[in-house]
Each structure stands twice: as structure tokens, then as C-alpha cells.
């Protein structure tokens, strides 16, 4: 890059706090706005503040219709200095953290409410798919209308052939997440899942089968970003942002085998002053198990092509040696639209502050959470990751 790149400034002095989850439901008769309102109320209740004291607002929602964050601001009675709509799907949460942190550091806002919320009415999911992007409308949707399932199926087909990954390997990820979800009272999936059930499930878009797919639902996830001293003054438990990366449209594999993380991952650990071995709990973006495996590699937990061996030799459950997607993730807790890009963040915040309750990993103080999203055409374009730390229990 011309002139070289400026050293990334640290996020010192900024904290995340008050992670909230509005419990999901498979279908909702309510509008997205209702779920956004619930999330804001939960933030107010959790922080002891009035929502009118929030002066920054980052919003992600696929189903808020014609309203962007500014319309929602009036709807909810927010009086803002900074307003930001983040339409980055599964990377919305990481993007919100990065932006909100900089707003706060620069003094453009004192208290930023970061919210992702979506409803799921009958036909919502089909409509979201049908109107996802111009490239998708021109060049993907007319080809069988398999939605994300068939796009990721083609990524998975290539990945399995290229790296010798079996469906059983991918199944280990789904099965361990289901085990985690059984401890999360808010998870939509309540029944145990065996590897046999995973393997024998019906095909949706081969090689993607039923338990490779998330359950679309309604729900919301949210948190606050503010200065450390303000959090202390308000008596709120801080989560520290040790490092954060984003990278978009950066990968030119013929069929996607990497995400944008590979470009910046070393810098992420370096700024956080840690290594993959220093991470106590990992929350990857799990729209499909194959994307989880890609992240285990790209985030540095193993080398490219070793993902299958990694999941065979590690226990990914809450009590295991590699606790991963401890809430059950989207695969087993549900995918509440854009909130799917937040679910790993709120869970990470709870984990490192010892407030995860039944899904708590003992002694967790450092978490890595990643985001991935926007399969605009034939690959996911947006990627990001954060390393968070807290005082633990």
C-alpha cells in the first residue's frame, strides 16, 4: 500500500458490557422493531440506564424493512450523536464492536448500543433470500433457489474432496454444539443429536444435510460499548477488547477454501498479546460446520487441511479440551437473522466474566469470537474476529 500502513491503534480504554439475549422463537408474529425494542429495553434494564442515555447506536437487521437505524432511533425514542446501520450479516457483530469502540475512543459517542435483531414470520426467510443481493438475484437464485444451503454445499463439496474431510468429521462439530445447546435454556434445539442421526439425516442440497443447516428464527442479541471509566462509575462488569480484525472480499480461491481472517490473523494475536493456545473459549461463526472447520484453520488453531484431524482429536463441548460455540451456536440455538453475527460475541462476553451460567467454561478469561457473512455471489465476503478478555468468575 502506498506509504505503508499505519500501525493499528489499540482499543485501550474501551470496554464492552451488558450482553443481552432476547430469547429466540422459531416464528414470531411481531415485526423486527418489536425485537429491537426488547433488546434496547434489556440493555437499559441490564445497565441501569435509560435508553435515552444511549448516544450511539449500531443496528443490524435483515427484516426491519424500509427502516435503517435512524428510523428505528425515532421509533424507539433514541437521541443520538452517532448512528450506524451495519448490513454485514454474520460479520455484523465484529463490525459493530470495532466501530463502536472507535466512536467511543474518539469521543463521538459515550454509550453505544449495539443491536442485532430480526423477526421470522411465515415466508420471511424466503423473502430475505430472494432479495439478498443483486449478484444473488442475477446469478445464483435462479439456479434452483437453494439459498445459502446450495451455495455452501458447493463450497463444502470442494472442501471435502480437497482436504479429505468426511461428513462424520463435520458431524462432530454439529453434535458437540448440540450437546452444548442442551445446557442453554434459550436454545431452540432441545433434543440430543447423535453422529448417526447427523450422518443419516436427509439431504437438503448435497452434500449439505439437515443438521448442517441452522434453524431460522426470531430473536435479538445486544451489548453496550463505553469508556472503561464510565463502566466503572456505573458499576458495570467490563469486557476488554484486546484485538479486532476485519477483512472483506479478500480471497480469490476458485472455490472458497479460506476466509479473510488469514490475512490478518497474526496481527490479531500480536495486538492481543496472546496465541491460539492462550484462548480459553472459541466462538466461531457457524452457519455451516464446514465454515467452522475453515475457521479453526484460518484462525490458527490448526493448519489448512488439518481441520478434520483437529476435530477428531479434540472435544469441542463445554467441558472439553477445546470449548467451542458453548451456547450451541446458530446450529443448535437458532439463527435469528443478523443476531447470528452477535451470538458468539454475547456468549464470549458472558464466558470471560463468569456469567454464562449453565454453559460456563470453568476459568475462562480470554475468548476469541469470529464473524463471517454475506455470500453475495459464490463466496462469503465479510470476515472478522475479536479477542475479548475479562476477570472471569
Amino acid at each position: 500500500m502506498a506509504g505503508g500502513r499505519k500501525q493499528r491503534a489499540s482499543y485501550d480504554g474501551v470496554v464492552l458490557t451488558c450482553p443481552v439475549t432476547v430469547p429466540y422463537s422459531r416464528y414470531s408474529i411481531h415485526a423486527a422493531h418489536w425485537w429491537i425494542g426488547k433488546a434496547l429495553r434489556a440493555l437499559a434494564d441490564s445497565s441501569g440506564l435509560s435508553h435515552r442515555q444511549f448516544d450511539g447506536f449500531c443496528l443490524s437487521s435483515f427484516t426491519a424493512g424500509t427502516d435503517s437505524a435512524i428510523g428505528i432511533a425515532q421509533h424507539m425514542g433514541l437521541n443520538l450523536r452517532t448512528v450506524d446501520t451495519i448490513p454485514l450479516g454474520g460479520n455484523s457483530g465484529v463490525a459493530a464492536i470495532r466501530r463502536a469502540a472507535r466512536f467511543v475512543q474518539a469521543g463521538d459517542a459515550d454509550i453505544v448500543a449495539c443491536v442485532a435483531a430480526d423477526t421470522n414470520q411465515i415466508d420471511t426467510f424466503r423473502q430475505t433470500t430472494a432479495n439478498f443481493s443483486r449478484f444473488a438475484q442475477d446469478a445464483v437464485l435462479p439456479y434452483g433457489s437453494g439459498g445459502a444451503n446450495s451455495s455452501f454445499a458447493m463450497i463444502q463439496r470442494n472442501y471435502m474432496d480437497r482436504y479429505g474431510v468426511t461428513r462424520e468429521d463435520l458431524g462432530r462439530i454439529a453434535v458437540s454444539q448440540r450437546a452444548n445447546a442442551l445446557k442453554n435454556p434459550n436454545a431452540l434445539m432441545k433434543k440430543p443429536l447423535t453422529l448417526d442421526e447427523y450422518v443419516n439425516a436427509r439431504a437438503i442440497a448435497s452434500p449439505v444435510h439437515l443438521f448442517d443447516c441452522v434453524m431460522p428464527c426470531a430473536g435479538a442479541e445486544a451489548f453496550l460499548v463505553m469508556r472503561e471509566d464510565l463502566a466503572e462509575e456505573l458499576g458495570l462488569t467490563p469486557v476488554f477488547l484486546k484485538g479486532a480484525i476485519e477483512r472483506h472480499n479478500a480471497i480469490d480461491d476458485t472455490v472458497q477454501e479460506h476466509g479473510g481472517w488469514v490475512v490478518d490473523i497474526d496481527e490479531l494475536y500480536e495486538t492481543a498479546g496472546t496465541t491460539p493456545q492462550g484462548i480459553d473459549v472459541v466462538q466461531t461463526y457457524d452457519d455451516y460446520p464446514v465454515i467452522v472447520m475453515m475457521q479453526l484453520e484460518d484462525l490458527g488453531f490448526c493448519k489448512k487441511g488439518e481441520g478434520a484431524a483437529f476435530v477428531r482429536s479434540h472435544d469441542l463441548t463445554i467441558g472439553g479440551d477445546f470449548p467451542h460455540n458453548t451456547s450451541g451456536g446458530q446450529l443448535s440455538a437458532g439463527q435469528a437473522g443478523a443476531a447470528g453475527g452477535y451470538i458468539g460475541l454475547t456468549e464470549s462476553m458472558r464466558q470471560v466474566t463468569g456469567t454464562a451460567g449453565p454453559t460456563q467454561v470453568a476459568g475462562a478469561k480470554t475468548a476469541l469470537a469470529s464473524g463471517f457473512g454475506m455470500i453475495n455471489y459464490e463466496r462469503g465476503l465479510a470476515s472478522g474476529a475479536v479477542i475479548l478478555s475479562g476477570e472471569g468468575a
Binding site: 426467510f125 424466503r126 433470500t129 430472494a130 432479495n131 443483486r134 449478484f135 438475484q137 442475477d138 446469478a139 445464483v140 437464485l141 435462479p142 439456479y143 434452483g144 433457489s145 437453494g146 439459498g147 444451503n149 446450495s150 451455495s151 454445499a153 458447493m154 463450497i155 463439496r157 470442494n158 474432496d161 436427509r202 439431504a203 437438503i204 442440497a205 448435497s206 452434500p207 449439505v208 476458485t254 472455490v255 455471489y377 459464490e378
Partner: protein
């Protein structure tokens, strides 16, 4: 290997006829460029005029150099299937009804990656031959097929939705009095049509012998009652209608008798087309999803003069242009039923009424072959013979110049 298509069974009259639904049809303005290529059977993508980058999906700026100049260019049809999926569960009714549906990611030799419909005989790792088809919603759709012909290749069920193959279909050809109509009827039977009805106007008058496999039916297109009567008898069974009528009488505006002849030409062409569309179009549109022998195409044989008014056929050219315009309206209406409207533009044919014209002229057999090919390949605009191809190129190069040359006065 493709399972050969079985002849459709007799329809169970108690069964509900499936209502035609369409695949998703939202396309960007740039995306419609590919529809243009597909309509003519070309494989063309956007190619940057400044840097030569072949761009896909369709764009408004070149991702290599940000040039705004991205015209269509014919490119190599070669590519390789780099991944594939069989969709069992689709979000859209059209594909749910047709599941499983195979798609592939194709790395084109010229660079881009295309998501494409995948022929049953092609799989990951295979070389493929690409084409742009028109799907039943009328939009360009990439299709990947084996490079070499495989057994029963045209019977592939996904391929069959992209074309209007005459095989096992029941077809009405409207005018058996002209040589073109008779040639078309024969060619369609040779191409596997189950039934061909051939319209003969005023059938008490003598007419030339027709292929014995053909069912001759009375049809006088300028008489709406005649159209209604025939539609009442066979309208629910016509899968393809080929409107071959041609009644050409020379005449420019200042010529004697021109008004009478113009009226007759309007009756036989424009109103005839309208009568046919009115009496047969609705039934066909309702049967666009009626199994192996669903209603699938409406073909108009139009004169090259529909594209450019030509002396001494001033009024005839105008009537043909009116029919061309009407065909666009019909195309829009039939699309809701997934029925294609194909226009076959022919130069002057070897016929008594073009007797004094110098060559090149088009034989009736050439028109018939072009129609069969258009149906088998799913083309929407077809140009038959050197005359019409020349006319088209000149029209594209300099429309005003063409107008001057074609109407130099009598």
C-alpha cells in the same frame, strides 16, 4: 446417461392441471444484457473494452479497471465443473416441484466462475460446454452440458425446461396452403412431434398434398369464428403453435388498389395473429406446467421486412412490423404461463409472390429446419437466410442508411 423420455400417458381428466409458476425473475439492467445474448443462442458475457476483463455476474463497472464500458462479447464456451450440488429442498415453488435440481460452479476458460444449471451427464471435474438459455421466466440462464453428445442428451429433464423440444408434443401449424407451412409440419413430425395439425383455409378448395402423418384441420385465421371453432376442438391440447401464414402483395402507399390489399394483409396477418392469440393463447398459457407435453412455445414466422420497411413492399412491411410489435406483447403475456414466444425472421422465400426478386432467397425447408432448431435449443429470435442477416447487420451499423437504401422510392 440420460434416461430416455417416455411418451406421456393419456391425461387423467380428474387430475388438476398444475398452475404454471416461474423461477425467480428479478434481474438487474445489466443482467438483461445476457438475456439478449441468450435470445439469439449466443454465449456472450460482458467484456471490458479498456482492459479486456470478462466480467460475471453482470456489472456496471469493470472490477479490474472501473471502466464503464462493458459490452457483450462472444466468448469461449469451454469450462470445468469445479463444484456441484443437488438441491433437494428449494425455497421457491418452481424448483420444489422439480426437485432434485442439479447446479454446478463452472470455471470458464475465459476466467469467470458461473453458477449454472448442470446437465445430468456432467459432474464435478468434467469439462463442459456452456450455453446461455432462456429459462421459462424468459431470463438468461447458464447451462453446462457435456462437451460431446451423450445418449438421449436432449431428454435431460432440466435441459427440457430450457427449450421447447417438439419431441412428444402436439403442434398446430396454421397455414398448409403455403409451402412453408407444409415443410414445417413435416420437419416437426420428423423431430418427434406426437401430433401435427395443419390448418387449411377454405378447405373445400383444392390444396396441395400434405404429409400423410399430418392431421388437416379447417382454419381461416382472418375469421375469428373459424379460430374459435378449431380452438374449441383442439385448443386444450396444443403444446406448440406455429403461425406460418404469409400473404404478401406488393404495394407502396401511392399504388392503385393499395388500400384494399393493405386491408387484406392486415386481416390475414395482424388480425389473424390476434384471433389466434385470443382463441389459443389463453389455453396454452394455462397449460405451461402440464407435464411432459405441457404447452411450451408459440412461433411466429415473420418477414425480414418487419425489421425495415422495404420498397415495393411498403404496406406489407408495415403489417409485418405491426405483427412483430404484437409478438412482444404476446411474449409478455405468455411468460406468466412459462410459454415461450419465438420469432423466426425469414428473408423472401422461394414462392410465386417473390418470383421477380433476385437471390438470395430462402427455401421453405430452411425455415422449417430453423424452427426445429430454435425449439430444440430454446432460442427466441432467429434469423433465417443471408438476406435477413445482412439486413440486421446493416440495421445495427446504420439504421438511417438502411432506411434510405430500402426505401429509395418507386
Amino acid at each position: 446417461m440420460t434416461e430416455p423420455l417416455s411418451p406421456p400417458k393419456r391425461k387423467d381428466p380428474l387430475k388438476r392441471t398444475a398452475i404454471p409458476v416461474l423461477p425467480p425473475s428479478m434481474r438487474s439492467r445489466a443482467g438483461q444484457l445476457l438475456t439478449w445474448a441468450a435470445a439469439e443462442g449466443r454465449f456472450a458475457l460482458q467484456k471490458c473494452l479498456e482492459c479486456g476483463h470478462v466480467a460475471y455476474p453482470p456489472r456496471d463497472a469493470c472490477p479490474e479497471c472501473l471502466s464503464e464500458h462493458l459490452p457483450l462479447a462472444d466468448i469461449s464456451r469451454g469450462g470445468e465443473v469445479v463444484s456441484e450440488s443437488t438441491i433437494e429442498i428449494s425455497g421457491e415453488v418452481y424448483f420444489r416441484e422439480r426437485a432434485p435440481w442439479r447446479i454446478g460452479m463452472i470455471k470458464l476458460d475465459e476466467g469467470p466462475i458461473m453458477v449454472a444449471h448442470l446437465h445430468g451427464d456432467s459432474a464435478k471435474g468434467d469439462r463442459v460446454r456452456m450455453s446461455l438459455q432462456l429459462d421459462v421466466a424468459g431470463n438468461a440462464a447458464a447451462f453446462a452440458r457435456p462437451v460431446k453428445e451423450t445418449p438421449n442428451m436432449a431428454d435431460d429433464r432440466q435441459w427440457r425446461t430450457m427449450v421447447a423440444d417438439p419431441k412428444f408434443r402436439r403442434i398446430l401449424v396454421t397455414d398448409g396452403r403455403a409451402p412453408v407451412g407444409r415443410a414445417v409440419a413435416k420437419a416437426l413430425l420428423d423431430a418427434g412431434a406426437k401430433t401435427v395439425w395443419l390448418g387449411i383455409s377454405e378447405d373445400w378448395k383444392p390444396y396441395p398434398p400434405v404429409d400423410p402423418r399430418v392431421n388437416v384441420v379447417p382454419l381461416t385465421v382472418d375469421d375469428v369464428k373459424s379460430c374459435e371453432k378449431l380452438a374449441g376442438a383442439i385448443g386444450g391440447k396444443v403444446d406448440i403453435l406455429v403461425n406460418t401464414g404469409d400473404y404478401m402483395r406488393p404495394g407502396d402507399i401511392m399504388d392503385t388498389n393499395v388500400v384494399t390489399e393493405a386491408r387484406e394483409q392486415l386481416n390475414r396477418h395482424f388480425l389473424g395473429f390476434l384471433h389466434l392469440a385470443h382463441t389459443f393463447g389463453g389455453g396454452m398459457r394455462a397449460r405451461g406446467a402440464d407435464g411432459t407435453n405441457s404447452a411450451v412455445a408459440w412461433v411466429n414466422v415473420l418477414s425480414a421486412y418487419a425489421l425495415a420497411n422495404t420498397h415495393p413492399y411498403g404496406t406489407y412491411s408495415a403489417v409485418q412490423a405491426a405483427c412483430l410489435s404484437l409478438s412482444h406483447s404476446l411474449r409478455g403475456e405468455m411468460r406468466h404461463g412459462g410459454v415461450r414466444v419465438t420469432n423466426v425472421f425469414s428473408g423472401p422465400v422461394e414462392d410465386e409472390w417473390y418470383q421477380e426478386l433476385t437471390p438470395p432467397k430462402v427455401g421453405p425447408g430452411a425455415v422449417a429446419s430453423a424452427i426445429v432448431k430454435a425449439l430444440r435449443e430454446g432460442q427466441e429470435d432467429v434469423y433465417v437466410g443471408d438476406f435477413v442477416k445482412d439486413l440486421r447487420e446493416r440495421l445495427e451499423a446504420n439504421p438511417k442508411g438502411l432506411e434510405r437504401e430500402m426505401n429509395s422510392g418507386g
